[in-house]
Amino acid sequence: MDLRFTPEEVAFREEVRTFIAENLPRETRERMRLGYRPKKQEIIDWMRILNRKGWAAFNWPQEYGGTGWSAIQRMIFLEENLAAPAPELLSFNITMIGPVLIQFGTQAQKDHFLPRAKNLDDWWCQGFSEPGAGSDLASLRTRAEKDGDHYVVNGQKIWTSTAHNADWCFCLVRTNPNAAKRQEGISFLLIDMKTPGVEVRPIISIDGSHHLNEVFFTDVRVPVENLVGEEHKGWSVAKYLLGNERTGIARLGSSKAAIRRSKEVAKEVRMKGRPLIEDQAFRTRVAQLEVDAKALEITQLRVVSAYAKAGGNKPDPVSSVLKVKGTELLQNSSELLMDVGGPQAMAVWQAELAAMANEPEIGPEWAPQMAPAYLMLRAASIYGGTNEIQKNILNKAVLGL
């Protein structure tokens, strides 16, 4: 047992860090440092820079343009990218649809979609959840009926992140409503968002942003060649997708960036007449989060190594530990950062808009995105399987309760 990184791994981290430092557009870095979420074009540009370097499909096999990195290298790469902070790789493309097509896709699907996904020529979104099917995903009702060489899709998806940016949606649809088990009548379809009958309606979230959507399907005709895997067997495709790449699930780099930022801003603000950074209670709180981050880092290394040793194809239920602790740390570190900001963090404004409109700023430039980040991260324990569901998984799959 050796918890230290090998010299090769240390060198790899240095290589990644240097590449990001030298290639991340300055404006993107500066916006993200202040907590702004990257714009659509910034995400596309960064993905393409990484793709030119050969790193965008960091987790795909080399024959499909992947990197061939070890699990540890993949983890290091993701962490460095988040901690920079640089735009996250679009997970719908890279950790979801890519691996799914590699595993289940036809040759034609692979040839067409994989290079485009990797270069973000197509922006993908995930059409799983429905109003009646959240935690209980298998109760989904969106119907797809065969009509010659098409499926005709009717129904509704909800919470579809970035559907308004998307070119394509991978969807779970019900092809056999009469199957003995609910899971057995579901299929996995690729739907072009420009098809007539697809309607996207925005949902504004409590941070004030437009990230979520409802997607309505009315007689949407989808060619049968857009079926992935076997008809009625979409549930196993979905399970593969959800269990596939757990390396990034803890998003540790983001938490580290927020903790680091808290310390920076704490030098600028006051607590009882002294810089906040000198306040013992504040320091204790930071120390606690750093302990949590360290424990998570080691646990993550253990899960990732075990996954790699097991051949890297069977999801490990212990990754639910990473989801629970990772999202708690994300939430706690965003909460810390907002608390550092204090009253200044409560105003609704945007430094960049103020600058454009030549208006005076309402507060310091570090302030405006603190509360939105905190608010949006309340969702981290909801999406990707709620933390309650993660604990149910641990109870059933690990503890035998």
Binding site: S205, I206, P343, M346, I362, R378, T386, E388
Partner: protein, 378 residues
């Protein structure tokens, strides 16, 4: 000790509940948020008619002679309905400053106007650099032949954009962080040299940044003793904490009720999600937090008029901590137990969440007041 309400208090909460029930539906409130002022003049007039705007003032000043407990009950209702009108800034903060420090003339001139709904105040004390430090005041007031000249800036002035009268703190002596040397001034918001930038806080309520350059005010503008305003400023902030704590209790009650309803009606895996013991326990924990928070809001209301300064400040700090922690727990879990729907602007839980969040970051957050209390551990 007596936790029962008087007949008058029951009548008060009933009539307020009726008015807000009719006027403060979620959709009605959303329309209000879209207006330029962000609140309703018409409702303000109705509050005046009901006697709410003079609730804590003496009958001589057109008031009701109400107690801090009366204000607490009202603020609980305001919290339950997420009321947007400038009650806290005008009646609680402004009213407290005038009641405690105003001369007879100043009180006669302003309090009846507040009670009648004709005047609105804002308390302009904290500054951009001060965060929660009450003595960190850089704004100055220099005496001259005409009275005083104010120079400086004020931050996060609640409802500072719509107030007609500002209560501004400034240094007449001493330097940053000195306890002595602070004074309060009653300033007409339209005085030359005052620039106000109004904006919205995360909970939809309004605030303003003020800049003061060469603002000439007469000698009579001085509110209370020159150089010795800190005790008054403290009491104004404490009154704000007590009232805000009650608002948070109202908001917690609303979130708790919505969450319980959701647990009973939302079906996943073929049964109501509330049948899962994990969620039943969470609901019980929310209730426990709410009750603890309610106790602390009561403590604040009962302590706000306590004459012993140290005793009062200590208890108010405890209440701010207790309500802050309860509010955070209840609101975070209310969102969590609603799943995705709790994250949306179209659903009320998130609005309550942000009201609680904003109050937690006014007048000293949980960590700040815990620090104050820790200093006193003997």
């Amino acid at each position: 000790m007596d936790f029962d309400l008087t007949e008058d208090q029951r009548l008060l909460t009933e009539s307020v509940g009726r008015l807000l029930g009719d006027t403060y539906g979620f959709e009605q409130r959303k329309q209000l948020l879209k207006t330029p002022t962000g609140w309703s003049e018409a409702l303000w007039a109705q509050y005046a008619e009901l006697g709410l705007l003079g609730l804590p003032f003496s009958e001589d000043h057109g008031g009701f002679g109400g107690s801090a407990v009366d204000v607490m009950l009202l603020m609980q209702d305001f919290g339950k309905h997420l009321v947007l009108e400038p009650y806290l800034s005008t009646v609680v903060l402004g009213g407290t400053a005038l009641r405690l420090a105003g001369s007879a003339d100043q009180q006669d001139e302003i309090l009846p106007g507040i009670a009648a709904g004709e005047r609105r105040l804002a308390f302009a004390h904290y500054e951009r650099q001060s965060r929660y430090d009450m003595t960190d005041v850089l704004t100055t007031a220099r005496a001259n032949a005409g009275g005083f000249v104010l120079e400086g800036a004020k931050a996060t002035v609640l409802h500072g954009d719509s107030a007609d009268t500002l209560i501004v703190s400034a240094r007449t002596a001493g330097g940053r962080d000195d306890e002595a040397g602070l004074s309060l001034f009653l300033v007409d918001a339209n005085t030359a040299g005052i620039a106000r930038r109004g904006y919205t806080l995360r909970d939809g309520s309004r605030a303003a940044e003020l800049s003061l350059s060469g603002v000439q005010v007469p000698r009579e503008a001085l509110l209370g003793q020159q150089d010795n305003a800190l005790p008054i400023i403290r009491r104004v902030v404490e009154a704000g904490i007590a009232a805000g704590a009650a608002e948070v209790v109202g908001a917690m009650e609303a979130m708790q009720a919505m969450t319980l309803e959701y647990l009973k009606t939302r079906v996943q895996f073929g049964k109501a999600i509330g049948e899962n013991q994990a969620l039943q326990h969470r609901a019980a924990e929310m209730m426990i937090a709410l009750e603890q928070g309610r106790s602390m809001a009561m403590l604040a209301a009962m302590m706000v008029d306590e004459p012993n300064d140290a005793e009062r400040a200590r208890n108010i700090s405890m209440a701010k901590v207790g309500v802050g922690q309860a509010g955070r727990f209840v609101s975070q879990n209310a969102v969590q137990l609603h799943g995705g729907i709790g994250m949306t602007e179209e659903y009320a839980v998130g609005h309550y969440f942000r009201r609680v969040m904003v109050f937690e970051h006014l007048y000293g957050d949980t960590a700040y007041h815990l620090d104050l209390l820790a200093d006193q551990v003997a």
